[in-house]
């Protein structure tokens, strides 16, 4: 019964949204009246609350194990802890789409009610938000109904959530990521409202600044959580695989990052206005594209949901229509938007413009990498996949150019040419310092790879440039933009740590019996497999190996596990990681051989902690930048 009530609430929400749209069409022909807007917003609020209550009831159904609901029956289980019963809602397509809509409604509700009641863009923004929510809500109800029942009777117990998803980081990864993705609906709707309105004297940047910051932070944290989970759970020792679904999360992130820079320039010095509008449209369009790629089953990926042509077609139609319409309106309005203030070469504005160009280039390269196999297959029937080598070669030069620009831009000023004296004073020492650091590094480790050295060079010049900047401004008690400094230092650390990681990390495959030990190399003096423990946990059996690794004079105890889950019979491995500031000892247990011995894969991964740190610094930088008031 509760399932039907929840379903009814969602249907009523959709109906209410349609009514608001119809009302607004009628209002369009009658005299404008402020009561009409108040009525529309009141109805809109009610519609959002219907969605929330419906989702709340759905959570209740999941907690109380209502296995007559087919989605809950196939993704939850009575043995699961409550936390995972709730998380099972977003472990597959229907439920996660539902969550997506809840967040859409949440952001929209907060934004529209927070706007000033005399805001000239309020009504058009509301209509845009309604169109987006309605598009997804109808998609949910028509093609992916989470409320459908198994008739006439439900099953005794649920089929369980996939064991590798039973993990705290992964349980919160989708909600945080979605909050980020969906958060950009606000900048999208506001930008569209501005373009439709056609009154370009309106100052709109400030109204969505904070919202975009918050969405960016959620998106970044969401992506990092996913990467962190992949690192410790999948046991491949990697944190980023250039998997198509990772790529479609990176696309809106890049667009959003470009947007934040562009928004800064356009609110501060009235340039890049058209860019900012364009990027505002792109972020959300790329989010829609991502939803299509992930949920249509068109690509083969770790993340992709089950293949369903109907869903794919709907999403392709919806995202294509939204993108196309917005771009047409954008193109129609461009000539009227006046932002043709000349940009002085070497000024802060010029660097922000170049940032936009680089970001759009990266977006395009990734977009091509994702779609090229699809295009090629539909034309020639050849099946191909594009992996890390493509992205590494494309990104190495982009990163290098970006870093050099960041390094130079550290001392740039608004609307002013950079002083040649200042330019040489900071750049020459930076280059000399970085080149010598790299030379010493190369001399010490005696290994070379062009791409990774480009990465190291790029990371270091950013770090050194900011180091010099911070020291000199502290000395002269000058102003320093803390947000920008933290975020860019984070970026420098990211480039540096991923490059060093790929250069130094290595793997050893080991075959040992219980009680045996082995010397691996100069640094790992002993690897001792002392014993094997078997135990039973709430919903799985565990085999846990007890291993002592003696590395650089320090003995470390590691317990990698194999788990067998009772409901699905699925086997998973739990990696044992000993993390130190500069390297992780990363151990996986493999299979047992016929002679009773076991295989292990031991990885020494360098600078992994620094990758997470870099993301934390970028988020911190954004938080600081957000708090800064309009100057």
């Amino acid at each position: 019964m509760i399932g039907e009530i929840a379903h009814f609430f969602s249907l009523s929400a959709a109906l209410l949204l349609i009514i608001i749209l119809l009302l607004n069409i009628i209002f369009f022909f009658s005299n404008p009246n402020s009561n009409q807007l108040i009525l529309s917003i009141r109805l809109f609020n009610q519609s959002c609350w219907l969605i929330f209550v419906s989702f709340g009831l759905y959570i209740y159904l999941a907690i109380t194990d209502d296995f007559s609901i087919s989605y809950i029956a196939s993704h939850s289980n009575s043995q699961l802890p409550i936390f995972y019963k709730i998380a099972s809602i977003w472990s597959a397509h229907e439920g996660s789409m539902f969550l997506w809509i809840v967040f859409l409604a949440l952001w929209s509700l907060l934004f529209i009610n927070g706007l000033d009641k005399n805001n000239p863009l309020k009504k058009l923004t509301l209509i845009m938000l309604i169109l987006v929510i309605l598009g997804f809500l109808l998609f949910l109800l028509i093609t992916s109904n989470p409320f459908s029942r198994i008739l006439p009777f439900g099953v005794m117990d649920g089929a369980d959530i996939n064991p590798i998803l039973q993990d705290p980081a992964l349980a919160i990864h989708p909600p945080i990521l979605y909050l980020g993705y969906v958060g950009f609906v606000i900048s999208f709707s506001y930008v569209m409202a501005y373009l439709c309105k056609g009154n370009f004297k309106i100052e709109w940047e400030e109204d969505i600044r904070a919202w975009s910051f918050v969405a960016w932070i959620f998106l970044t944290v969401g992506i990092t959580l996913g990467s962190w989970w992949a690192y410790y759970e999948l046991g491949w020792g990697g944190y980023w695989f250039w998997d198509p679904v990772e790529n479609v999360a990176l696309l809106p992130w890049l667009a959003a990052t470009a947007f934040m820079h562009s928004l800064y320039a356009s609110s501060k010095s009235n340039i890049l206005k058209t860019w900012t509008l364009f990027l505002g449209i792109m972020i959300f369009s790329l989010s829609l594209f991502g939803a299509f790629i992930v949920r249509s089953g068109i690509i083969d990926s770790v993340h992709s949901f089950a293949n369903d042509p109907q869903r794919g077609l709907y999403l392709l139609g919806f995202s294509g229509l939204m993108t196309l319409l917005s771009l047409v309106i954008f193109a129609y309005r461009i000539p009227a938007i006046n932002s043709s203030k000349p940009v002085i070469t070497g000024s802060k504005e010029s660097f922000l413009s170049m940032n936009n160009i680089l970001m759009v280039t990266s977006i395009f390269s990734i977009f091509l990498g994702v779609t090229y196999p699809l295009i090629l297959e539909s034309f020639s029937g050849e099946k191909v996949s594009i992996g890390p080598p493509y992205y590494n070669t494309i990104f190495a030069p982009l990163i290098l150019i970006a870093s050099i620009l960041i390094m130079i831009s550290v001392d740039s000023l608004w609307q002013r040419k950079m002083l040649a004296r200042k330019f040489f004073r900071s750049i020459i020492p930076t280059f000399i310092l970085v080149t010598s650091i790299i030379y010493i590094f190369w001399y010490l480790i005696n290994e070379f790879s062009l791409l990774t050295y480009i990465g190291i060079f790029s990371g270091l010049i950013i770090l050194v440039a900011y180091f010099i900047k911070i020291i000199s401004s502290l000395k002269a008690k000058e102003y320093i933009n803390k947000g920008s400094a933290f975020a860019h230092i984070g970026l420098g650390i990211l480039f540096l740590s991923i490059s060093v990681n790929s250069l130094l990390s290595y793997q050893k495959n080991i075959n040992l019996s219980v009680g045996e030990s082995l010397r691996i190399n100069e640094s790992i003096e002993s690897f001792k497999f002392s014993n094997l423990n078997v135990r039973t946990a709430s919903n799985h059996d565990v085999i846990s190996a007890n291993v002592f690794v003696l590395m650089d004079g320090v003995s470390v105890n590691l317990n990698p596990e194999k788990r067998k889950y009772s409901t699905r019979g699925q086997i998973t491995s739990e990696t044992a990681i000993h993390a130190t500031p500069f390297k992780d000892i990363y151990l996986n247990i493999g299979d047992q051989l016929e002679d009773g011995s076991w295989t292990f894969s031991l990885k020494i991964n360098y600078f992994v902690k620094w990758i997470w740190l870099s993301s934390a610094l970028m988020v911190l930088g954004m938080v600081l930048a957000m708090q800064k008031r309009k100057i």
């Binding site: 996939n162 590798i164 046991g235 083969d300 770790v302 000539p335 043709s340 280039t361 395009f364 390269s365 091509l368 990498g369 090229y372 050849e382 099946k383 191909v384 996949s385 594009i386 992996g387 080598p389 493509y390 070669t393 494309i394 793997q507 495959n509 080991i510 075959n511 194999k562 699905r568 699925q570 086997i571 998973t572 491995s573 996986n588 247990i589 493999g590 299979d591 051989l593 016929e594 295989t599 292990f600 894969s601």
Partner: protein, 137 residues
């Protein structure tokens, strides 16, 4: 105003030209970085360049997995042809006999040396080509 527009159009054309050059460069580099996908029958019938990295997809043949020390060998089949695959390292959890698998590596002297094994996260996974193949049989 017209002058401004003309200038803008000029800028746009320059941007378009540069991006066209960029795109062609990217596409050119794409071609050398692609991993082509084959089924066992395609691999055995066609001429495969032994120096290019390829992907092979199929089922792990029952009772074909042999482990010796840290190396594993097995047969990948599409029910018409089978390819002998060798791999060094720990295999993924979902890698098992009778399940779908995709391996990445080089095919040389009638042997496939795999650098990576992808066993999908879904236990019901089957490479799409194979699914089509087994339905049409």
């Amino acid at each position: 105003m017209l002058e401004v527009r003309r200038k803008r159009l000029g800028k746009l054309l320059v941007i378009l030209f540069i991006s066209a050059v960029g795109i062609s460069l990217i596409l050119f580099s794409l071609n050398s970085k692609l991993d082509l996908f084959y089924t066992p029958s395609e691999i055995l019938s066609g001429k495969i360049n032994s120096s290019s990295r390829i992907k092979l997809g199929g089922m792990v043949k029952a009772n074909s997995i042999k482990r010796l020390g840290t190396s594993t060998s097995f047969l990948v089949t599409d029910f018409q042809a089978e390819v002998f695959v060798k791999f060094e390292g720990v295999t993924p959890d979902l890698f098992k006999e009778g399940s779908g698998v995709v391996v990445l590596g080089y095919f040389k002297d009638q042997k496939f040396s795999a650098e990576e094994i992808f066993a999908k996260h879904d236990e019901n996974y089957m490479p799409p080509e194979l699914e089509i193949g087994s339905q049409s049989e």
